[in-house]
C-alpha cells in the first residue's frame, strides 16, 4: 500500500492560495477546491441538476395523478370545463414558450463558444418570451375571474347547467350538465389553477434567475469556458417548457369534442 491515505504536507489549502496547474490545464477561478478536476465539477453540477429535475417531476406528478383520477370520475364535467379554456391563447403560449426554449438553447451555445454579446442577447430574449407567456396567462386568469370560474364561494355553475345558445345553429353550445355534475367543474378549475399556477411559479423563479444570469454574463463571468450555470439553468428552463407541453394537451385539448 504505497502512497496511501495521507502524508505530511505543509500547506492546508494549496488550491485556495494560488491557482495552480491540474492535469496540465490552467485552473479557472470558478474551480471549487474540493473537486479534483474541472470536468468532475461540471459533471457533478449537471448530474445534480438532473436529479433536481427528477424531484420536480415527482412534485408535478402528484398533481397529474390527481388530474388523472378526477378526470376519470367526472368525465362530463371535465369535458365541459375544458371547453371553457381558450385553445388559441393556449396554442399561442405554447409557441411563445418553445421560442423562449429555443433562445435559451442558443444562449447555452453562445456561452460555450464564448460570445458574450450574443449570450446576453439570448438571455434577454428568453426573459422577454417568458414575460409574454406570463402576461397571456394573466389574461386567461382574468377571464376566469370575470366568468366566476375560480373555485370558491363565488363559483358559478349556471353556464354548465344552462349552456348558452349558439346564434347560428340555435342549439346549445355545450352538453348541459346536471347540477351535481356541474359542481364537479370546480375540481377541474382547481386543478387547472393549481397546475398552471405551479408552472407559472416555476417561470417566475426562472425569470428571476435569468435576470441574475444576464447580469453575470454582462460582467463576462461566462466568457472563459465556465458555462455550468448557463447549462444547468438551460436544463431547468427546458424542464418548465416540457411541463407545459404536457399541461397544454391535458387541460386544453384532450376533452374537447365536437357537439352532436
Amino acid at each position: 500500500m504505497a502512497n496511501t491515505i495521507a502524508t505530511t504536507h505543509d500547506s492546508l489549502h494549496p488550491t485556495l492560495e494560488h491557482p495552480h496547474v491540474h492535469d496540465e490545464h490552467v485552473v479557472l477561478p470558478q474551480h471549487r477546491h474540493h473537486f479534483e478536476t474541472e470536468n468532475q465539477q461540471r459533471e457533478a453540477g449537471s448530474f445534480g441538476m438532473w436529479l433536481f429535475l427528477l424531484t420536480e417531476i415527482m412534485f408535478f406528478g402528484g398533481l397529474f395523478f390527481a388530474y388523472l383520477l378526477y378526470r376519470n370520475w367526472y368525465y362530463p364535467a371535465f369535458a365541459s370545463a375544458s371547453n371553457q379554456l381558450s385553445v388559441p391563447l393556449g396554442a399561442f403560449n405554447t409557441v411563445i414558450l418553445i421560442s423562449s426554449g429555443f433562445c435559451m438553447a442558443l444562449g447555452v451555445y453562445y456561452a460555450e463558444v464564448r460570445q458574450k454579446t450574443m449570450l446576453v442577447a439570448m438571455l434577454i430574449l428568453t426573459t422577454f418570451f417568458g414575460v409574454v407567456f406570463l402576461g397571456v396567462k394573466g389574461v386567461e386568469y382574468h377571464e376566469k375571474w370575470e366568468k366566476h370560474h375560480i373555485p370558491g364561494s363565488s363559483f358559478d355553475i349556471s353556464e354548465f347547467v344552462n349552456p348558452p345558445i349558439d346564434a347560428k345553429t340555435g342549439k346549445a353550445t355545450e352538453e348541459p350538465l346536471a347540477p351535481d355534475m356541474a359542481q364537479k367543474t370546480q375540481v377541474f378549475f382547481f386543478l387547472y389553477f393549481a397546475m398552471t399556477g405551479m408552472h407559472a411559479l416555476h417561470m417566475i423563479i426562472g425569470i428571476a434567475v435569468l435576470g441574475w444570469l444576464t447580469w453575470r454574463a454582462h460582467r463576462f463571468e461566462f466568457s472563459n469556458g465556465y458555462v455550468a450555470p448557463i447549462e444547468n439553468f438551460g436544463l431547468y428552463w427546458h424542464f418548465v417548457d416540457i411541463v407545459w407541453l404536457f399541461l397544454f394537451p391535458l387541460l386544453y385539448l384532450i376533452n374537447r369534442h365536437p357537439l352532436k
Binding site: M1, T7, L12, H34, F59, P151, Q186
Partner: protein
C-alpha cells in the same frame, strides 16, 4: 479504560497523547465560522446538536403522553391537549429526528471521507439544507407555542382541512420546508457517490454504510416532493377552500391518503436504511470479519428502497380501498421482509465464528438486531389483511412502529454516534458508563413497548387519553419502562458532553477498523485528505489492515 484482553481498543499513550494540532474543529474560530461553514464535518456537527435538541423536545412529549396514560382516568390533561401532545411528538420525532438523524449527521460527516473525497459535491447546498432544517424546526416550535396542532402527524383530511381550528398551516409549512432539507441532502449524497469517489473506489468497494445511504437518498429524492405537494394542497384547501380532498365539493379524502403514504411509507425506509448501514459497519468491525454476503447486503438496501414505493396502501386497508388492491398491497408488503431478512441473516453469519468483542457500539448493534427483528416480524402480522383489520389503530400498531423506528433507528443512531464519536471529536467516552447506557436503553425499551403489543391485541385503541380499568397494569409497566428509557437517553448526553473536554485521546483508529475514515487523523483535517487516497483493497479487508505497517497508519499531527 478497560485493559482486558477482550478489548481491541488501541489507544495512544495517555500521558503523551494530544489531539492533532490542526483539525476541522480548530481550523477557524468563532460562531460565524460555524454558521457559514462549507465543511461537511462541521455541518454534520451542527445537525448533531440541533437534532439532539429536537429529540429531547419530542421525547418530553412522549413522557407527557405516558404520564397521562399512567391512570385510566383522563386526569392530567383534557383530550384536545392530549391530541396536541401526540401530534407534536409525532411531527418532531418523524420529520425532525428520525428522517434526518443518521443521514444528516453521520452520513454528512462520513460519506465524503469513506469515498476518499474532500467534501460533498455541493457544500453550499449542504449548508442550505441545515438552514432549511432549522427553519422547519422553528415553524414547528412556532406551531407549538401558538397553541399546537391536533391532527396527528398524518394530517388526515378532511379532519385537518375542515374540522380543526389549530395551527395546521404553520405545521404544514414546517414539514414542507424540512422536506426540502432532506431532498437536498439526498441529492447531495447521490451526486457525491456517483461523481466524487477516489481512484480505485469502485461501487463494490464502498462501505455498506454508503450503500444504505445511497438507497435512502433515492427515496428522499423521489418521495419527498410528493409529500410536499400533498401538504401544499392541504394548505390551499384550508385557506382558499378548494375541494380537491373535500367530498362535499367532489374531492376525495382517499387521494390525500394515497399522496401522503406514497411518501410516508417509503419514509420508514428513509429512516431505517441508514441505520442498517451503521449496523453493517459496527458488526463487521467488532467481528473482525468482512460482512458476509457484501453484495447481497448492498443490493438488499436498493431492493428495500424499490419495494418501499409499492406498499403504501397497506396503511389504507380499512379506509375503503378495494379488496383486490388490498390483496395486492398485502402481498407486496410481505415482499419487503425478504431483503430485510437478507440483512439480518447476513449479519448473523458475519457474527458466526468472528472474533467478537463487546464494545458499546456493538451492544447497541445487538440491541438493534433484536428489536428490529421483533418489529419486522410484527410488520408481517400487520401486512396480513385479516390480522390488520383486527389490529389496526390499536396499540399493536404503536408498538410495531416503535420497535422498527425507535428500536431500529434510534439504536442504530446511538450505535453510530458511539462508534464514530472518537473520529468526530478525537476523544473516547467512559466505557463502563456507555455500556450501562446501552443496557438501560435496551431494557427500558422492551419494558415500554412489549406491553403495548398485548394492549393492542386486547383492543386498546391508540390516540385515546383514557382507557378501561383492566388495561392499567400494562400501561403502568409501559410508563415505568419509558422512565427507564429516558434515563438511558440522558446518560449519553451527559458522558458524551463530558468527554468533549475530559475524554481520553482516541487516536486515529481505536477500533482497528478498515474504513478510509479510520486511516486519517481524529478529528480529521478540514479537507479530510492531503493527498487523494487510492483504494487498492476491498471494503472490510482486515488482512490488509493487519499488513499495513505502522508508518503507513501514521498521519499528520
Amino acid at each position: 479504560m478497560s485493559t482486558s484482553t477482550t478489548t481491541i481498543l488501541n489507544l495512544p499513550d495517555q500521558a503523551t497523547a494530544t489531539l492533532p494540532k490542526r483539525n476541522y474543529l480548530n481550523a477557524e474560530h468563532g460562531l460565524l465560522s460555524w454558521l457559514f461553514t462549507g465543511d461537511h464535518k462541521r455541518i454534520a456537527m451542527l445537525y448533531l446538536f440541533s437534532i439532539t435538541f429536537f429529540f429531547f423536545i419530542g421525547g418530553a412529549f412522549a413522557g407527557l403522553i405516558r404520564l397521562e396514560l399512567l391512570t385510566p382516568q383522563p386526569d392530567l390533561v383534557a383530550s384536545d391537549t392530549y391530541n396536541k401532545f401526540f401530534t407534536m411528538h409525532g411531527i418532531i420525532m418523524i420529520f425532525l429526528f428520525l428522517v434526518p438523524s443518521v443521514p444528516a449527521t453521520l452520513g454528512n460527516f462520513l460519506i465524503p471521507i469513506m469515498l476518499g473525497a474532500k467534501d460533498l459535491a455541493f457544500p453550499k447546498i449542504n449548508l442550505l439544507s441545515w438552514y432549511l432544517y432549522m427553519a422547519g424546526g422553528t415553524f414547528t416550535l412556532a406551531a407549538l407555542v401558538l397553541g399546537g396542532v391536533d391532527t396527528g402527524w398524518t394530517f388526515t383530511t378532511p379532519l385537518s382541512t375542515h374540522y380543526l381550528n389549530t395551527h395546521v398551516i404553520t405545521a404544514a409549512t414546517a414539514i414542507f420546508i424540512a422536506g426540502f432539507s432532506s431532498i437536498f441532502t439526498g441529492l447531495n449524497f447521490i451526486v457525491t457517490i456517483h461523481r466524487m469517489r477516489a481512484p480505485g473506489m469502485t461501487w463494490f468497494r464502498m462501505p455498506l454504510f454508503v450503500w444504505s445511504n445511497y438507497a435512502a437518498s433515492i427515496l428522499m429524492v423521489l418521495g419527498t416532493p410528493v409529500l410536499a405537494i400533498a401538504i401544499v394542497l392541504v394548505a390551499l384547501e384550508r385557506t382558499i377552500g378548494i375541494g380537491v380532498f373535500d367530498p362535499t365539493k367532489g374531492g376525495d379524502p382517499l387521494l390525500f391518503q394515497h399522496l401522503f403514504w406514497f411518501y410516508s411509507h417509503p419514509a420508514v425506509y428513509i429512516m431505517i436504511l441508514p441505520g442498517m448501514g451503521v449496523i453493517s459497519e459496527v458488526i463487521s468491525t467488532f467481528s473482525r470479519k468482512r460482512v458476509f454476503g457484501y453484495t447481497a447486503v448492498a443490493f438488499s438496501s436498493v431492493a428495500i428502497a424499490l419495494f418501499g414505493f409499492f406498499v403504501w396502501a397497506h396503511h389504507m386497508f380499512i379506509m375503503g380501498v378495494s379488496n383486490y388492491s388490498a390483496l395486492v398491497f398485502s402481498l407486496l408488503t410481505m415482499l419487503v421482509a425478504v431483503p430485510s431478512a437478507i440483512k439480518i441473516f447476513n449479519w448473523a453469519f458475519t457474527l458466526q465464528k468472528g472474533s467478537l468483542t463487546f464494545e458499546t457500539p456493538m451492544l447497541y448493534a445487538f440491541g438493534f438486531m433484536g428489536l428490529f427483528t421483533i418489529g419486522g416480524l410484527t410488520g408481517v402480522f400487520l401486512g396480513s389483511l385479516g390480522m390488520d383489520i383486527h389490529l389496526t389503530e390499536t396499540y399493536f400498531i404503536v408498538a410495531h412502529f416503535h420497535f422498527v423506528m425507535v428500536g431500529g433507528m434510534l439504536m442504530a443512531f446511538l450505535a453510530g454516534v458511539h462508534f464514530w464519536w472518537p473520529k468526530m471529536t478525537g476523544r473516547m467516552y467512559p466505557e463502563s458508563l456507555s455500556k450501562l447506557a446501552a443496557v438501560t436503553t435496551f431494557i427500558g425499551f422492551n419494558l415500554t413497548f412489549l406491553p403495548q403489543f398485548i394492549l393492542g391485541y386486547l383492543g386498546m385503541p391508540r390516540r385515546y387519553h383514557s382507557y378501561p380499568q383492566e388495561f392499567q397494569v400494562l400501561n403502568v409497566l409501559s410508563t415505568a419502562g419509558a422512565t427507564v428509557l429516558g434515563v438511558g437517553y440522558l446518560l449519553p448526553m451527559i458522558y458524551l458532553g463530558w468527554s468533549l473536554k475530559y475524554g481520553a485521546i482516541a487516536g486515529n483508529n481505536p477500533w482497528q477498523a478498515t474504513g478510509l475514515e479510520w486511516q486519517i487523523q481524529s478529528p480529521p483535517l478540514t479537507e479530510n485528505f492531503l493527498v487523494t487516497p487510492i483504494m487498492d483493497h476491498e471494503a472490510y479487508d482486515y488482512e490488509w489492515l493487519a499488513h499495513k505497517t505502522e508508518q503507513e497508519v501514521t498521519t499528520v499531527g
